[in-house]
């Protein structure tokens, strides 16, 4: 029984880490504009996430080292430093986007302007990092995040043309009236929204926080095999729910409230409560995860004591970095930049930076002296290398596509 509970906790972490503001915005944008013709991008990204998530869990369990410890040891100080700087910057941007996202959700619920909520959210994020034990963080936000299943329910109740949805999913093609580069740009955004660098850092550091060892490897594996696909189901149902509602007049989803429209239509206020609770939990969890990831990666690079398993007084530098990140991100959102724009920019830049985190992981998972008999199997390497090639193509194509399509307009 205890084992089952432990397992569900892990699964929920994955769900909370997968669906965040970037994912909510991009999946609903694409659902409303392109129908299900881009669902393949989410499926592809999830498959890659499962593959690399499993590797991250295995490396952490076997070597008892978190991501950036290993990156610096294996790939040298200079490469690791560049890697650290770009990852920290991306995580900071993500953190800013998530804080803005939570504030937007609170604005929808309360009617009070989101900028008033921003400092409150920043404070809450920091309080959670400061006080809430790691396991509690996982459980509370993981469970609440499952409220988003309300989108799947709404989807079933909506007068959807299932045949057409399925046909779009299995026969991806550029819809009429849309240019191919734009369509591809959104495919890349979806991949960037799913494969966020902070997830691997957070997942491996979280494994250390829970003191994973070889015995927990099965648990880690099931976490990735169940958790990430569950996140995919949530994403796809949000995407699909946007199709029947908004497709005819092709509304541009620039507002979180519109994402909840389909749920409101079929399930009324109760549905809305669930949807907003789910939004809040997922985005808030992602905010704490990205803030923690900055602290994790910096502390691991420099060899400081890190983690929520220590008292803050015993890991002071780690907590100072986390606090500084929250302050910086909150300050950035308070400059009145549009949180949705920040989100989209972060997702696109993230897509360009994917190989930075995933390549070192692949290298380490093949290091026999670290991994012993737990090195990658040949089929895993074949899949992982293919995935890495896809990531490289995505990474190279991102910025040209963004400029060519004026960020998908």
């Amino acid at each position: 029984m205890k084992g089952v509970l432990k397992l569900t906790l892990g699964v929920m972490t994955a769900v909370g880490g997968f669906v965040d503001i970037g994912d909510l915005v991009t999946t609903s944008l694409t659902g409303a504009r392109f129908g299900m013709t881009l669902a393949w991008a989410v499926v592809l990204a999830t498959a890659m996430m499962v593959l690399y998530g499993e590797m991250a869990g295995r490396v952490t369990a076997v070597s008892k080292r978190a991501m950036f410890d290993v990156v610096r040891e294996r790939l040298g100080v200079r490469f690791a430093m560049i890697n650290l700087a770009s990852n920290a910057l991306l995580s900071l941007l993500t953190l800013a986007a998530e804080i803005g996202g939570v504030a937007l959700v609170l604005q929808l619920v309360s009617g009070i302007h989101y900028l008033i909520w921003v400092p409150v959210v920043g404070l809450l994020v920091w309080l959670v990092i400061w006080r809430l034990p790691f396991q509690a963080l996982e459980t509370v936000f993981g469970l609440l995040g499952l409220c988003l299943l309300v989108f799947a329910v709404a989807l079933v109740l909506l007068p959807a043309d299932w045949g057409a949805l399925w046909h779009d999913m299995t026969h991806p093609s550029v819809p009429d009236g849309e240019a191919t580069p734009t369509w591809l740009f959104y495919a890349i955004s979806l991949i960037g929204a799913c494969l966020v660098p902070y997830q691997v850092i957070f997942f491996s550091s979280g494994g250390r926080e829970e003191n994973w060892s070889v015995r927990d490897m099965k648990e880690a594996r099931i976490n990735t095999l169940v958790g990430f696909p569950l996140g995919m189901v949530l994403s796809l149902s949000i995407m699909a729910a946007m199709v029947p509602m908004l497709r005819p007049d092709s509304v541009d989803v620039r507002h979180l409230g519109q994402v909840a429209l389909p749920v409101a239509q079929v399930l009324g206020v109760t549905g809305l409560i669930f949807a907003f609770l789910g939004f809040f939990a997922c985005v808030f969890a992602a905010a704490t995860e990205s803030a923690l990831s900055v602290g994790y990666s910096v502390a691991q690079y420099f060899g400081w004591t890190w983690g929520k398993r220590h008292r803050p007084a015993d890991a002071p530098r780690f907590h100072v970095v986390c606090l500084a990140s929250v302050i910086a991100a909150t300050g950035f959102i308070l400059t009145t930049v549009d949180p949705i724009t920040v989100t989209i920019v972060t997702v696109v830049l993230g897509a360009a930076a994917i190989p930075l985190t995933y390549l070192p992981l692949l290298v380490v998972a093949n290091d026999r002296e670290y991994m012993g008999k737990y090195v990658n199997k040949r089929w895993q390497n074949a899949l992982a290398t293919t995935a890495l090639l896809v990531m490289l193509v995505v990474s190279v194509a991102t910025l040209p596509l963004m400029f060519a399509t004026k960020a998908g307009q």
Partner: protein
């Protein structure tokens, strides 16, 4: 190659250093090798830690800046990095270095102590 020969890169550089209680001390940013006065072969005399040791290894302008900033933060503008004498090493392998001293007695603890004293311990709940 003999089994008991290791290169610095294989076994020492960038490894995590732990004190005798398993508390993180830092990373092996560089190593110090001394030529004995009696003319014997050079010996590993200390592990070096901190920005002034890491900076030169980063190289380029980034490394120069890193070293310069590290130097400003050192007491008395001392350019030489923190030393962890080799006598304190009880064990090292591919994954980590263990010391016989406590982190509190080592010179690498200044930033840790400063952040604890001036920031973290002033916030309620830091010692829970």
């Amino acid at each position: 190659m003999r089994e008991d020969i290791v290169t610095a890169n294989d076994m020492l550089l960038d490894r995590q250093i732990f004190d005798r209680d398993g508390v993180e001390v830092g990373k092996v940013d560089d190593i110090e090798v001394t030529f004995p006065d009696d003319g014997g072969p050079p010996v590993l005399s200390a592990l070096l830690c901190g920005p002034t040791a890491l900076g030169p290894r980063l190289g380029g302008r980034l490394g120069t800046w890193w070293t310069a900033i590290g130097r400003r933060l050192r007491p008395g503008d001392e350019p030489y990095p923190n030393r962890i004498p080799a006598e304190l090493i009880t064990k090292f392998d591919r994954h980590e270095v263990r010391l016989s001293a406590s982190a509190r007695e080592l010179p690498t603890n200044r930033l840790r102590d400063w952040t604890r004293e001036h920031i973290v311990s002033r916030i309620p709940g830091s010692g829970r």
